[in-house]
Symmetry: C2
Subunit: 327 residues, 2 copies
């Protein structure tokens, strides 16, 4: 495995040009009801509307577009509970690259089906008893394929950071300077890339990570000043955010740029999914809704402030969504 240097904001700008023609510039949504609830201004970057249903398509595409012809021919491998899987599978399909995806046996059905429908081969593993990293490394060796890591890769972080560059552009268009940003955090790829982008334009912006209860490893690590792990064997409705510790590449960036970490419980997440449905007409999966949940449950004081929140994905099974809508 090649150890990559951390990305710079220039890498994020380069990623933006590289992937521009493939991605949807997702809108920023706003609701008078939500603004009233918060007594502030809430601007929601709607990444569920991205191709593959989450921001993960950006980082996957930025990585695959930088592979050599030899690497492309040998195919790619990724491990993921689902959104990275779909992002890599769709990017590989578009570029004509063979993809093999390792997914846990308890991944949401929609994520497995979508990954397969993009033409990828899906290999299942038990996330409680098997190491996806080990299986991934073995498959890479057996097949000579390239591993596309979910967050600890400068190309992936730079790709996810294009979300932040779009936010910069979109806020400039409406003449708004944000006071705060809250971004969902699993391994930290999205928030580290977004923070590089946002801070390059608004240096005094405060950025907070949002995580679900039991998986607040980034919040704890930020407090400790070093990487701290959580028990990875806990159940959570936020299947997209189950990384047990911050990444080796992402954490130094986040430690340098974030103001702190916010943590939300399941009821707060469910409420955020309902508010996104009724106020924004946006389908958001639980893991994608943690930053919105943190804002709506006022984990930090946003009164009188302009807050940018990223909703990061919308790949949720019908039955769970229906369940959340009928509490």
């Amino acid at each position: 495995m090649i150890k990559l240097d951390p990305p710079s904001v220039d890498d994020v700008y380069a990623a933006r040009e590289r992937i521009r023609s493939f991605v949807i510039k997702t809108p920023i949504l706003e609701s008078p009801h939500l603004n009233k609830q918060l007594n502030g201004r809430l601007l929601v970057k709607a990444e569920p509307l991205q191709k593959s249903g989450s921001f993960k398509f950006r980082g996957a595409l930025n990585t695959l577009l930088q592979l050599s012809n030899t690497e492309r021919d040998s195919g790619v491998i990724a491990y993921s509970s689902g959104n990275h899987a779909q992002g890599v599978a769709l990017a590989a399909k578009i570029l004509g690259i063979r993809a093999t995806i390792l997914m846990p046996t308890d991944a949401p059905v929609i994520k497995v089906e979508n990954t397969k429908s993009y033409g990828a081969e899906v290999v299942h593993f038990d996330r409680y008893t098997e190491s996806r990293e080990e299986i991934g490394e073995r498959l890479c060796q057996e097949r000579g394929s390239v591993l596309v890591k979910p967050y600890d890769d400068a190309r992936v972080i730079a790709g996810q950071g294009t979300v932040g560059l779009e936010i910069n552009e979109q806020l400039a268009e409406i003449g708004v300077t944000p006071d705060l940003a809250i971004v969902p955090c699993g391994g930290g790829g999205l928030i580290s890339g977004v923070s590089l982008a946002l801070k390059s334009v608004t240096s005094n912006l405060s950025i907070y990570s949002a995580e679900p209860e039991h998986y607040d490893d980034t919040a704890m690590s930020l407090t400790a000043g070093e990487i701290v792990s959580v028990d990875p064997n806990q159940a959570s409705i936020c299947d997209a955010l189950l990384a047990p510790q911050p990444g080796n590449l992402t954490f130094p960036i986040n430690r340098s740029l974030l103001s702190g970490g916010l943590v939300v419980d399941e009821d707060e997440v469910r409420n955020a999914v309902r508010e996104a449905f009724s106020r924004l007409k946006l389908v958001v999966e639980p893991g994608g809704a943690v930053a919105l949940a943190a804002a709506l449950s006022k984990k930090i004081d946003v009164a009188g402030k302009t807050v940018v929140v990223v909703c990061s994905g919308g790949n949720i099974d019908q039955a769970l969504f229906a369940n959340i809508l009928t509490p």
Copy 2:
């Protein structure tokens, strides 16, 4: 009541400039799954993401921005099952105008609550036994207020047509020329305005209206070559599309520009709502999904073609949405 001349495409362009800073330029969404289903290319204009949850905000705003100071001071009145109500109420709130909205007693709860939350006074009527037009006229006379009609007003049609101008711009950006467009149709305000806009750029485009069963008055009128009414006392899941006949201003435009009318049944609408949920991450109400339903159920052959479909609104009660997701 002043009889207004029909709008021209220049009125639509003027509306675009007038309302530009207030509206969301809603994205065009696309799904590889839906393209595969249709063996064509489906581009979905996502108006549920518009402020107030539907395109109706555009026409309401374009109208209110053209009122005289005296008219503004006397307040506005509108009758609506809900989306026009919310559009007028929000536009009035933004401009500091008093709004009174007539709504049927069986309007969806979310639409009534949202209308009230925008600060409008809501007056209820029974749509099976009372005439909203008569109550509206009476209230206008009593209060000296201005009636904002839901579709038969050139300012409203021009405002809705800005959806079409945005589609023109967005397709030009990705270098696409559409073969077909399908647009939901109640009284015909949206489709007449959109058709003016689309045909001004792509004159050989074929445009079809989409209506729910029992409310296919535009399809029948297009076939007959004159305005035909349906029985207005039939139940439909598509509460936004219950106009019993085409408008006097909208029908001549539609007769001149449309290629025909498509009709979908309730199962097809429910399926379209589910597909928008799972493939586009978009919340679409039944009436807003009829054009998508017409495409997905292949009411017209779209194989090998590029089809633009407008999803027009997303104001649906939680319980109904949950019901549709668990068939």
